[in-house]
């Protein structure tokens, strides 16, 4: 639980599916398909493969940005950025009913607004600077704490989170974390996911006391 993997841009369908499968075996429970430069037909085939893998592992499959792909591949939901369609408009699309909507947020006001707009979950970040989102300033753990203090929706902290800093992020109040590099680019993604997951749930147990 609690570990959300976002796919990196690197790798073709086969390579990506292999890494995702390893991450699922290591304990990831949400997979977000995010490929900024892959042609849509390939993304569709990849999404179908990930749909099978996530079903086998009882994990959620979320598609970044592309609502049409989410419906076509029968994904569990879509993840939207601040400049994408608003959640209520997506929710009303034919074929979308019953699916989840997630949203990226970068400050407290956006997080609060997202809750009011009817997203099912949101991501807060980047907590630390990350090459995945080059040029976007890190928001730090202070924002994580502020969000944790007031919001009772499902949410994840994202951005530069890895084994070395996951305890700090959890201590700041994050109930779950999303990663790209820490698992996707690891030499052994299954082991990386397993260790990250273990560090996460242990620190959460400590924080609970």
């Amino acid at each position: 639980m609690r570990l959300y993997l976002i796919t990196g841009d690197r790798g073709d369908e086969v390579e990506t599916a292999r890494i995702v499968e390893a991450a699922l075996e290591g304990g990831a429970t949400v997979i977000q398909l995010r490929k900024k430069s892959m042609p849509m037909l390939e993304q569709y085939r990849l999404a179908l493969a990930l749909r099978i893998l996530t079903r086998e592992h009882e994990a959620l499959l979320i598609i970044n940005d592309h609502v049409d792909l989410a419906i076509a591949a029968d994904a569990d939901g879509v993840h939207l950025g601040q400049d994408d369609l608003p959640p209520d408009a997506v929710r009303a699309l034919p074929g979308f009913e019953g699916r989840l909507i997630g949203r990226s947020t970068h400050n407290l006001a956006q997080a609060q607004l997202t809750v009011h707009e009817g997203a099912d979950y949101f991501a807060v970040g980047p907590v630390y600077s990350t090459p995945t989102k080059e040029g976007r300033p890190a928001v730090g753990t202070a924002l994580v704490s502020r969000v944790a203090g007031i919001i009772d929706r499902p949410w994840v902290a994202v951005g530069g989170i890895e084994l070395d800093n996951v305890a700090t992020v959890v201590d700041a109040g994050a109930p779950a974390v999303a990663v790209v590099r820490a698992v996707y680019d690891a030499a052994d993604p299954a082991e990386a996911a397993r260790r990250l997951h273990e560090a996460l749930v242990t620190r959460l147990e400590v924080a609970r006391r």
């Binding site: 949400v30 009882e58 569990d76 009772d152 499902p154 779950a176 242990t202």
Partner: protein
């Protein structure tokens, strides 16, 4: 070996300098297989316990992933113990401040949270000043109208770290907000298969309650009356029949109005009650929260004490011997 001070689970403790984690666990009488060790904020693998040495100033956290310690008469749901038999809702409160005071007054272990916010008006979505980590969260799938939708919301809640508990709630009729029996059963089956601790919201139908129990629900939650009505327990007989047939905790959910009704549910053998509107919309919510908390204690005590037999002939309670006739 010289003695040094380390921090063990947040408290100072004196240990021999350079002691291995394995030796330390032996001294503490802890089986290595039952614990995860965080040493200076890093997880230590079990294989490394004998190689890892503890030195002055080190921070150690031993984490046991088991519940317990909740007292003799704890409510046990899905293997987890809850001290309080009042499950506290978090919706419809005038403000977070009022909710926080209610939680302080009622001292619940478990509080409900909606995964999907239902309405834009009056629905609270922020819990400022309330430390959610102090409670066992019971997320519900309200907002789902299909089994598939409920399963998705449950998976999201678990992935977001709410808890393994899920209250399955699939509305079958928008006017009464009564649950859809077929979809509730389907979602329950699937989520049980996935290892969730499923608490299934149902109407007061006895057979549906049995089916949910057979499907593996960890608790069955029949409504007293439609959600938010505060009409109180409408069918005591059905509650008693459900309690008699279902071998997991029966938790009366929805529609209660006043604490006496909560006590009545517990007296009839219900394991707990879930109360939201009756507290949130009371004239003095924190006082009402406390009253409900006291009522469930009284009701439970009465259930365990066993009621007196009902007789049709009057029998004087005062002694009559020796009185002038």
């Amino acid at each position: 070996m010289s003695q040094v001070t380390v921090t063990l689970n947040g408290k100072p403790r004196t240990v021999p300098d350079g002691v291995s984690l394995l030796e330390l666990l032996e001294q503490l009488d802890v089986q290595p297989s039952r614990v995860v060790v965080e040493h200076n904020r890093e997880i230590r693998r079990r294989d490394d316990f004998d190689k890892t040495q503890v030195h002055a100033g080190d921070e150690l956290e031993l984490v046991f992933f088991v519940g317990g310690g909740a007292g003799d008469d704890a409510l046990v749901v899905g293997g987890r113990s809850l001290r309080s038999r009042l499950i506290h809702g978090t919706g419809k409160f005038a403000s977070n401040e009022v909710l926080a005071r209610c939680l302080t007054a009622a001292q619940p272990d478990m509080i409900t949270v909606a995964i999907r916010r239902l309405n834009l008006e009056g629905g609270r979505s922020e819990l400022e000043g309330i430390d959610l980590r102090r409670y066992t969260l019971l997320p519900n799938t309200a907002g789902a109208t299909t089994a598939e939708g409920a399963v998705r919301l449950a998976r999201l809640a678990r992935a977001a770290g709410f808890s393994d508990f899920i209250k399955v709630e699939v509305v079958g009729d928008e006017d009464t907000l009564l649950p859809d029996p077929q979809a509730t059963l389907e979602a329950t089956r699937q989520l049980v298969k996935e290892g969730f601790i499923v608490m299934a919201y149902t109407s007061d139908d006895v057979v549906q309650a049995i089916r949910l129990y057979e499907a593996g629900a960890a608790a069955v939650m029949p409504g007293a009356a439609p959600i938010g009505t505060t009409l109180g327990l409408q069918n005591l007989l059905n509650l008693e029949l459900i309690v008699g047939k279902v071998k997991v905790p029966v938790i009366v959910d929805a529609g209660l109005g006043v604490p006496s009704e909560a006590a009545r549910c517990l007296e009839a053998g219900a394991a707990a009650v879930l109360v939201n509107t009756a507290i949130a919309r009371a004239q003095n919510p924190p006082e009402m929260a406390r009253a409900f908390a006291e009522a469930v204690v009284a009701g439970r005590r009465a259930f365990k004490a066993g009621r007196a037999h009902i007789g049709l002939k009057a029998v004087a309670s005062s002694p009559v011997e020796g009185l002038p006739v």
